[in-house]
Symmetry: D2
Subunit: 98 residues, 4 copies
């Protein structure tokens, strides 16, 4: 299992605020039943690597449905095969070392 | 004010686990009195843009002090000049639209 | 069409050098007939968005085949629907403005 | 010495094209005498780590001077202390392994 952080940025929005577009992403995550955590800089999602890539493709498509003509998407994947990786476990593991 | 997400990745660690290096980063953030939130994929820090860049430089230096010879650091900055940006506000603003 | 930059980072490699793992990625890109450019910080690939996501999934899998147990992959996608995007065009467009 | 890839993205530009803002970044790099390579997804710069952070701060400031109110900047730093790192060397090293 892996963790993926994704941010989907619409370009050419007239206004600096992009919260409406981010809300669309969250709605999609809920519909898909994703296990995720919203942060100020993106969304961290837990899942099998194949389903994470599928979800990334769907999230990336979202702003285009609102008429946006350019989207810049950033994805970071942390994939471990030596142990199960779950949301909030890395944070807990670091906190335990302090 | 701006938000910065930073992840500092030591390369050549023998083991897949890098939690000890991340704990060093958190200790530095506490010493510096930074306003931050630890996520599974990095650390989100709130601050003036100048102090964020200074903090990024210090965080990047941390693993070298433990003998690591290569560090890959990823930084994303979201800087708004039309309004104050504070930690957890973007998440709250998105949640309010759902 | 879109551009994707991808970097695939094996974690826990003992040595700081990861060139052998990067060479595997390049071999895969050649086998797949990808249109790409190797940079010092990653690989920029041109293609339809669906095939870019498929390629990203394959590239991410590569270091695991050499026994690596943890991989951190960074992907940035720039996807425009108002015009065709091709490799080296953005650079040429910027150079033309100078 | 280290390599830094940076992309500076103005948000709220009305139009999808951001080439004029990128041209400003390139002008600044030339004025600063930076050793850099423009790619389709950002700019890769070679230098001492301290000067790279200083340069990043200046580049990030550029779009605000044109009236932009929000800038999202992505930075990746690859810093090796076991050997000198120069632009195009990583690409050459990978190519030599094929």
């Amino acid at each position: 299992m892996a963790l993926m952080e994704i941010s989907v940025l619409p370009i050419g929005t007239k206004l600096p605020s992009i919260g409406d577009y981010i809300a669309d992403l969250v709605r999609l995550l809920d519909e898909e039943g994703a296990i995720y955590e919203l942060t100020d800089m993106g969304t961290v999602i837990e899942g099998e690597i194949e389903s994470l890539f599928e979800l990334a493709a769907k999230l990336h498509e979202t702003p285009f449905k609102k008429g946006i003509m350019r989207v810049v998407t950033n994805i970071e994947i942390d994939d471990r095969r030596d142990k199960k990786v779950k949301l909030r476990e890395k944070v807990a593991s670091v906190r335990a070392r302090l």
